[in-house]
């Protein structure tokens, strides 16, 4: 068994003690007369103002809360929220999931797709084929920094390079040309 201590109660108790001491020092009459009102033990000629009067006048004009004061007035729940109240909040229509009305059918493969997004199945298909082409390129280049300065053409089984593909690099793929990969 282990105890969990959060720092807040200790800090709060410490500040309350400090604040109590301050209050007792500055306003002894408010505290209730338990400590005798203290005065200077030695009458010294000093400034002709009392610290109390100035403090009262100062406090009434400008109420600037310091960090010590504002920390004791933090927001905290007063009562436990009942399950009925919690349910009203959690099940409110703005918290429920909205149904999406932008789902269509892909004309190529027939899977579902969102209107503004590429079809996932077709994208995966193209990605797999691209990966195989890239592997062929890697085999041909044989290492990093060997990319040629000319264009690349991908030819499938039974295809010959045309006169347009004169100076280009040719990558062979050992399969039939897929229907979606249109030849130029």
């Amino acid at each position: 068994l282990v105890l969990v201590r959060s720092p807040l109660p200790r800090l709060r108790a410490l500040l309350q003690r400090c604040w109590g001491r301050l209050e007792r020092g500055l306003w002894p009459d408010i505290f209730g007369g338990q400590s005798p009102p203290w005065g200077p033990a030695l009458a010294v000629q000093g400034p002709a103002f009392l610290p109390q009067g100035i403090n009262d006048a100062g406090k009434s004009s400008s109420e600037v809360p310091s960090l010590l004061e504002s920390i004791l007035w933090m927001a905290a729940p007063k009562k436990r929220r009942t399950i009925e109240v919690n349910r009203c909040r959690r099940r409110h229509p703005n918290k429920l999931i909205e149904i999406k009305r932008n789902i269509d059918v892909c004309p190529e493969c027939g899977n579902l797709k969102q209107k503004h997004v590429l079809c996932g199945y077709c994208y995966a298909k193209v990605k797999a084929e691209t990966r195989l082409i890239r592997m062929e390129i890697r085999k041909k280049e044989g290492g990093p920094f060997n990319a040629p300065t000319v264009e690349t053409v991908v030819l499938y089984e039974g295809e010959k390079p045309t006169e347009k593909d004169e100076g280009k690099r040719i990558i062979e793929r050992a399969r039939k040309r897929p229907s979606w990969f249109v030849q130029n």
Binding site: V4, R5, P7, R90, K95, L96, I97, I99, K100
Partner: protein, 203 residues
């Protein structure tokens, strides 16, 4: 029709149908929950067998119960997905779940596909699209408490929550949504309540 009504009422309480093994050896039909842990109530709902329907009765739609236990997801978060697909047709539900970003959406989609396949193979459903979701519920699974470390040597206790998901598919198109209650309906009901009052202790 009275006999048929009585039979249909007691159809759920047919003891010979509840026993998995044959009725020849009654002593061996006692189930002990040793392996496969406890078979939950939702799984047992698939085992009820109704008596054959009479020729004049309307066709009883097929009901398929399926569930998945101890999904590593929060019960509250799963509830939102269950509420989303309540009352939808199975195709619409699968479409919504496919494009939902939640972790539980993937799990519920698998459960629905499993249930659809079960329906076609075992429960004599003709068209796999002709199903709708009659009930979709979540339940609380087993929680485990763990320590979560904060700064300054402080720690909190976090709970690792799991949930169950239950779904009931019924054959047929989804029922039309209920029209929202208008003020006119509420007023009519109020007037009817006033009219139903009777005078007591009078002549």
């Amino acid at each position: 029709s009275g006999a048929a009504w009585a039979r249909s009422l007691l159809s759920w309480a047919r003891p010979e149908r509840w026993l998995a093994s044959g009725s020849l050896f009654p002593l061996s039909c006692i189930h002990t929950s040793t392996s496969l842990q406890r078979i939950g109530k939702w799984e047992k709902k698939n085992r009820i067998v109704y008596p054959p329907q009479l020729p004049g009765e309307p066709r009883r739609p097929a009901e398929i119960y399926h569930c998945r236990r101890e999904i590593k997801y929060s019960n509250d978060k799963m509830w939102y997905l269950a509420k989303l697909i309540k009352g939808m047709s199975i195709d619409q539900a699968l479409a919504q779940l496919e494009f939902s970003d939640k972790k539980g959406a993937k799990v519920i989609k698998e459960v629905l596909l499993e249930a659809q396949e079960m329906a076609v193979r075992k429960h004599n459903v003709e068209f796999k699209s002709n199903l709708h979701i009659a009930e979709s519920l979540t339940g609380r699974g087993r929680y485990v408490k763990r320590i979560r470390c904060h700064g300054k040597g402080m720690f909190g206790i976090m709970k690792i929550s799991r949930c169950h998901y239950f779904v009931k598919l019924v054959e047929g198109p989804p029922p039309p949504p209920e029209p929202p209650r208008t003020g006119f309906d509420q007023a009519k009901e109020y007037v009817q309540q006033l009219r139903n009052r009777t005078l007591v202790h009078t002549l």
